[in-house]
């Protein structure tokens, strides 16, 4: 990965780095990715991907209302709140 790619991925992940950190991140990631290239040696042409360790299907709940956390309860942890709302710096200009 070059510098530009690392920056692109950082933007996707909403992370930012100083120049030094960026360099270290690129170095670390490249070492790991080089190691992961090991997987290219495995022939997986006829193999199905495995998303789960167990393979159950159709785990449902019924459509029955049940109490959930009130805004009062979960907003206890919010770094900024106003009434029943959380908030962020205004993100759409009108």
């Amino acid at each position: 990965m070059n510098r530009e790619q690392v920056l692109h991925v950082a933007r996707l992940a909403r992370l930012s780095f100083t120049e030094d950190e960026l360099e270290e991140m690129a170095r670390g990631m490249n070492a790991i990715l080089a190691y992961i290239d090991l997987l290219k040696r495995v022939d997986t042409a006829a193999v199905a991907p495995m998303a789960h360790a167990t393979a159950p299907a159709n785990v449902f709940r019924e459509d029955e209302p049940a109490p959930s956390l009130s805004p009062e309860e979960w907003l206890q942890a919010a770094p900024w709140r106003s009434g029943p709302f959380a908030g962020v710096p205004r993100f759409v200009e009108e």
Partner: protein, 494 residues
């Protein structure tokens, strides 16, 4: 020293009212007070709530209530398990001071059984690490040698049990995070079959791999705790609706006719010859007790670490997207725009290793790379599982080392992530395959504990525990050893 005893023994002593639950937890709090300045196993110690819980158990006992064997037993939770109203940091600045509005299902079950929560234990930030050095707060030391790491990421839980600060603790295991620290600190660590234990309220790292399990002093204790936390949970779609046997009651020390497979790949390059020797010796002992053993092969083992370091970071990159400074957790002050709020909060809230894995995972899922990395790894994961399926056609359990080496020194691997990742090379395949695995002490190399890892068929914890228990009973010397510097007094149950 009561706290180095087993749950079994303490439960019967409590039942006979030789001492009260309050006295027991006072002893635990006293040990934490004396030992934890050096060990640093705990992020949060909870004297008031622990004493209140113990007092409630004593009252229930004097009323004549029927009590669980876990009632009044001092224990600890890894700090990535949510506890309602009690700080849950995940070892991260991001969640410093966070008090969850709900409790993990495992804690709700233990709480209902009368467990006494002494505190929340240290871990690698978001459970990402193998040494507990990645905690945002401080590293935890290994009771056997303070210059060495206790393993990770459940290093705090392992150290607390090994030092007798608590009788047992819960950890979480995504790539070895229960078993490897158990091995490094000379305790028993059990990773249940994926789906055996609810993940609700376990702060997610890699959802398809994470599993909660006990770290305890004996196999029987592990079985008792596993029984208390197992079972289907309507709040976790991946928790399995399978019967939960009373494992502890079925432990009889018998291994005759059990077929043990010894996978050669787990004894090869990178494995300390002394570790390998001790594990083979353990297998020989079991054979001497009537088990049968033969070598076998799990040919895709060498690809497990690479597979894991695609899949786990990919899931983590998504699971950790919720830490954005909006609803809980760290919020960077002074952010003027939304993008600034996100990036600054995440930049300041996450440590280096967490960022590295988020970056890796984001990359592996991004347009143009998904097939080469993520999909490819999912396919290799199938092959790794198939290796195990084939082996279990011939064997009841597989035996191998838990970790290639004994506990390493602090700082030794911190600057080389790839080398750190290799510490989990022998535990990762078990998570990828979703199987139950247990690590238990099988000797010492240069004065440091070595772990024997046993792996079983899905949901056959019973066989796993039976073999582990039989071995444990036959080798009381490993349990009677106490870390130097930890006050004398030993568990003498069998």
């Amino acid at each position: 020293m009561r706290l180095l005893g087993s749950i079994d023994r303490l439960a019967s002593e409590l039942a006979r009212k030789e001492y009260s639950a309050v006295e027991l937890v006072e002893e635990a709090l006293d040990r934490v007070e004396r030992l934890d300045g050096t060990l640093r196993a705990f992020i949060t110690v909870l004297p008031e709530t622990a004493l209140a819980q113990a007092a409630a158990v004593d009252r229930a006992r004097s009323r004549g209530d029927r009590l669980s064997p876990l009632a009044g037993i001092p224990m600890a939770l890894k700090d990535n398990l949510c506890t309602r109203g009690i700080p849950t940091t995940c070892g991260s600045r991001m969640l410093d001071g966070y008090r969850p509005p709900y409790s993990a299902t495992v804690w709700r079950r233990l709480e209902a059984a009368g467990a006494v929560l002494v505190g929340k234990t240290n871990l690698d930030e978001f459970a990402m690490g193998s040494s507990t050095e990645n905690s945002a707060f401080f590293p935890t030391r290994n009771p056997w040698d303070p210059k060495r790491v206790p393993g990770g990421s459940s290093g705090g839980s392992a150290a607390a049990v090994a030092a007798g600060e608590v009788v047992y603790a819960l950890g979480s295991d995504t790539g070895g995070s229960i078993r490897q620290p158990a091995s490094f600190t000379g305790v028993v660590g059990l990773k249940p079959t994926y789906g055996r234990v609810s993940r609700y309220g376990l702060i997610a790292f890699a959802s398809s791999l994470d599993q909660v399990g006990p770290l305890a002093r004996t196999v029987r204790d592990s079985a008792t705790v596993l029984h208390a936390i197992s079972g289907h949970d309507p709040l976790d779609s991946t928790s399995a609706a399978v019967p939960v046997p009373d494992w502890a009651a079925r432990l009889d020390g018998e291994v005759r006719g059990i077929k043990i497979g010894v996978p050669l790949e787990y004894f090869g390059t990178g494995v300390d010859p002394e570790v390998a020797r001790l594990v083979r010796q353990a297998v020989d002992l079991l054979v001497g007790m009537g088990a049968e053993a033969a070598e076998c092969s799990l040919p895709h083992t060498e690809y497990a670490v690479a597979t894991y370091y695609v899949l786990a970071p990919a899931e983590a990159s998504s699971n950790l997207a919720r830490y954005d400074g909006v609803r809980y957790g760290w919020r960077a002050p002074g952010a003027k725009s939304l993008t600034e709020l996100y990036t600054l909060s995440r930049q300041q809230g996450f440590g280096r290793e967490v960022k590295r894995r988020i970056m890796l995972g984001t990359y592996a899922l991004s347009a143009g790379y998904y097939e080469a990395y993520y999909l490819k790894s999912q396919k290799v994961r199938s092959l790794i599982r198939q290796d195990f399926d084939r082996a279990f056609e011939r064997f009841d359990v597989l035996a191998m080392p838990t970790s290639p080496e004994v506990a390493f020194r602090h700082g030794e691997r911190a600057s080389d992530p790839l080398r750190m990742y290799m510490a989990d090379a022998l535990t990762i395949p078990v998570n990828l395959a979703g199987l139950p695995g247990i690590s238990l002490p099988c000797g010492f190399s240069r004065g440091l504990p070595v772990g024997l890892q046993l792996v079983g068929r899905p949901f056959e914890e019973e066989t796993l525990l039976r073999v582990a228990h039989a071995y444990e009973v036959a080798t009381p010397e490993w349990r009677q050893a106490v870390p130097p510097g930890i006050a004398a007094g030993r568990g003498d149950d069998a």
